[in-house]
């Protein structure tokens, strides 16, 4: 059952974004209205600085929720792991 006070979500930052944000991971208590990838992105961008720069609309950012690639509409629930990373460059 969702905590009415918000939602604890684990965030993971990878590759160049880890360097830009200065953190590999964090746990957040997001407000209840932050319940999709898109709303989470906007909420993080509102922090300003590198967050605003890297997560601005139109910037090429990929997101995975619980290890599955997600899009802006993908829901986020308490206990989820959300990873934010640049377009991949393997192979």
């Amino acid at each position: 059952m969702r905590d009415s006070a918000g939602t604890t979500v684990s965030l993971v930052y990878l590759a160049r974004l880890r360097e830009a944000f200065g953190a590999a991971s964090e746990r957040i208590e997001a407000p209840a209205h932050v319940n999709t990838v898109g709303s989470l992105r906007a909420w993080l961008a509102a922090r300003g600085g590198a967050w605003a720069t890297e997560l601005a609309p139109g910037r090429a950012v990929r997101v995975a929720v619980n290890h599955d690639l997600a899009n802006a509409d993908t829901p986020i629930a308490p206990g989820d792991e959300v990873a934010i990373f640049p377009p991949v460059t393997g192979g």
Partner: protein
């Protein structure tokens, strides 16, 4: 294991022999090996480091292999991708596919690489004379992956 993420180098002959497994139903073996170049975007590259997202990497590669098996009539598929520090001429990735006939093996092998390039959570950081930099994703990789969205099966 059909999908492996590892720091160690791999022996292509050994891996393909294991993939074929002496199975007489196999008539075709297709393979791709990706290797480190010493130049990228007009800069000379002295080395690179492959980062990945533990927990998602194997899951993403498994999904790509599963999709290849669903789309083409192939027998076995193998993906080995290295992570960690690499030097020019080092091997990075091996994709191997077996099938009865070559059409499916070629197509599935190329598909797996095109999807790996756009969906598998790896990132390259390369060392150049002017410092280290993260490799940028290429539009050509997205285009290569997109063309599989309207492909028909090859004639067997």
């Amino acid at each position: 294991m059909p999908v492996r993420v590892q720091r160690e180098d791999f022996d292509v002959g050994h891996e393909l022999a294991a993939l074929r497994d002496g199975d007489p139903a196999v008539g075709a073996v297709a393979a791709f090996i990706g290797t480190v170049r010493d130049v990228n975007a007009d800069s000379s590259v002295s080395g690179m480091t492959l980062e990945h997202y533990p927990g998602m990497t194997e899951k993403a590669l498994d999904a790509i292999v599963a999709e290849a098996k669903a789309r083409w009539n192939i027998l076995q598929a193998l993906v080995i991708h290295r992570v960690g520090p690499l030097k020019p001429a080092d091997q990075i990735v091996l994709v191997g596919v077996t099938s009865a006939h070559r059409g499916e093996a070629f197509a599935a092998c190329e598909f797996i690489m095109d999807y790996l390039k756009t969906r598998a959570p790896f990132w390259k950081k390369e060392e150049t004379a002017s410092g280290t930099r993260w490799v940028e994703a290429r539009a050509s990789d997205d285009a290569a992956a997109a063309r599989w969205q309207s492909t028909t099966k090859p004639v067997p």
